[in-house]
Subunit: 427 residues, 2 copies
Amino acid sequence: MGFVEKIRDHGKITFFDLRDRTGIIQCVGQDLPKVNIQSAVEVLGKVNKRPEKMINANIPTGMLEIAVEKLNILSQAQELPFDIAKDELDLTLPTLLDFRTLTLRHGNVQKIFRVQESIMEGFRIASQKLGCVEIFTPTISASSTEGGTNVFKLKYYDHDAYLVQSPQLYKQMLVPAFERVYLVSRAYRQEPSVTTRHLSESIQMDCELGFADFEELLDAMEFTARETISYTADKCMDILKDYKTEDIKINPVVPRLTLREAQNIVKERTGIDHTLEPDLTPEDEREISGWARSEKHSDLVTITHFPTKKRAFYTMPDPKNKEYSLSYDLIFRGMEILSGSQRINDYQKLVEAIKDRGMKPSDFEMYLQAFKYGMPPEGGFSFGLERMTMLLLGLGNVRQASLFPRDMERVDFRFSSKKEKVKKKGH
Amino acid sequence: MGFVEKIRDHGKITFFDLRDRTGIIQCVGQDLPKVNIQSAVEVLGKVNKRPEKMINANIPTGMLEIAVEKLNILSQAQELPFDIAKDELDLTLPTLLDFRTLTLRHGNVQKIFRVQESIMEGFRIASQKLGCVEIFTPTISASSTEGGTNVFKLKYYDHDAYLVQSPQLYKQMLVPAFERVYLVSRAYRQEPSVTTRHLSESIQMDCELGFADFEELLDAMEFTARETISYTADKCMDILKDYKTEDIKINPVVPRLTLREAQNIVKERTGIDHTLEPDLTPEDEREISGWARSEKHSDLVTITHFPTKKRAFYTMPDPKNKEYSLSYDLIFRGMEILSGSQRINDYQKLVEAIKDRGMKPSDFEMYLQAFKYGMPPEGGFSFGLERMTMLLLGLGNVRQASLFPRDMERVDFRFSSKKEKVKKKGH
């Protein structure tokens, strides 16, 4: 049983490729019932060795074929809106997503999600090696604690509630119980614009470690990233080769730069002075990645010590210079994939930090409870599954790395435009 | 480094137990700074063998102790609202949850989530053995397709959107792409009442298998449940013994009954006639579980063929008698833990089924797209992580098996009542 992938009709004799999750095999039969591409079928027949010259021609459907005695159509597909049997789908992104259930059947699209599955597996293995316990945190929150307008609000029985922007506060609250935790959760952000690298709902992978200082946190996050990427590259090397992104330089020593050091390197290399900016620009990220790859043979580079004011309230200021914080981003192939920090673990200082940002400690009552009763030095990091997938495969848009991406303009279909109108690239 | 778990103050000499994720060790020191229970501390000292008579007394903190030379308080805990150093926490459920960040530090509470972690691991291993690919489905949906009033509505940019009641429709849509899929997702239900076994947000584990008939689906779901339970029992036997729930009868052959057969057995055993009811009552579930355990030596029992009208629109009616459907529930220790069915895979029949329920096919456009272009016979099942945890440990309330449970009355804290007021059982 399987799906009819391609049909070659030679009058009385018909050849077709049958796909299932194990691969593709050619079928050949006479006077077969009319079947459309992508139909689900059951084939009864005899498995034969293919003619010698066909085997030598190195055909992807393998050395065997089925001489069809009976073809049962389990589910006849309607006529397709575009040719999906081609090696490359030449569709625009909107069409790719408007026909998502169909385009996901294409081999090249499926490969993206094989890589995604491996990233997740690699992340779990790395987290378990760090001694983390897997936890499950809620996505519904009573207050919009992490930031104002970007939060989705919902009607929760007779109350207002919000979708969490990240599991950040909950994972910290679990450090006193489990010490080291990891989790896979959802991040919801009402992003006010459409970019190639943001989604309104995304899958976030997190770790949080208690009794860890800044150096240990940097070690742990670089370990997790290296392990995750290496695991995926090992498992999916064939796919990375298909996408021509197999040349990954993972160095046991990840170069570490403070933000200001990184900006100075960018200035030396490009002449552009961003040394007073509070963050790297996308161009800076690409430039410093280029530097790390050519000078340090590493596709990963760690940036530390972002200005305290620009990071979340719970970020620990550097005791040596409180203008800067014990925070870090990890850059992979020219884009940030991971963000984290050591956290303020002192109850009083945390209450002050909340007030300093103009927020109310009473909105953080359960969170603060965890700090009242003993919170060790701790910190952690998080990364986005879709962005990681995008960068490993060199995709142009993060939406290609989400099965059903949500953004300002789209939930399954676009809100505004006409549905199911095929657009091809360059047309 | 670790948390101060218990303190035994003998004037000049102080004994305290230090807990970290690896276990507990006793510390002993003189003239130590004043430290409160649950504080995070760093201890410098010498590791000694404990006196022989202490070792023989079989003390849980082990054969070694630390002679403290220096005690650094990393985070001093405030005075606790109740005694958490006791072997058993005698708190009411509301207090257990109002002080969640504190009560989760108690050994017996932590054990619940060790079991939960193992259930998830066991489920993943079983799903992978079935050949399923891990997928990630969205939780934000454009229409409230699965049922009216129980759905949470949210403001999504300038549009209305809804939280999915289950990943059901999305996992089906992925069968033509990946054939066999598994996923861990969120289920959101605006349950209009407070029961001991429902949550408003819960973690759901799902499989969906293409090219599978009813028998194969039953085999697959029983396999997954048996593997998950056996894996957890193997890994967490000590915890199950602590909870006195280690006596699990998992039989390779799970008894299978139609709903009507099960109701007849209940009638024979109790004299209560429910043979015209459309489902088992909670009492019926307990009774049929008792039957399966005593007559078939199985804590699992499969119930099939629920009335078509009582199951979701996508459920396949039994071709032999369309009043009943190719649906199933799995009962474990007196309660349903899993539900599933073979699905309607024919596009036209599915459109009819949607209309028959008074719903609009246009609200299911992306879902129906998957069926238009060839959908094999398929089906699947889902189970809830918290309920599974509850039943494996014999907990009285599913909230005990959720780190931060959400229900009609509570998001972290209860909406109505005064916060942080300790209540003990029977007080």
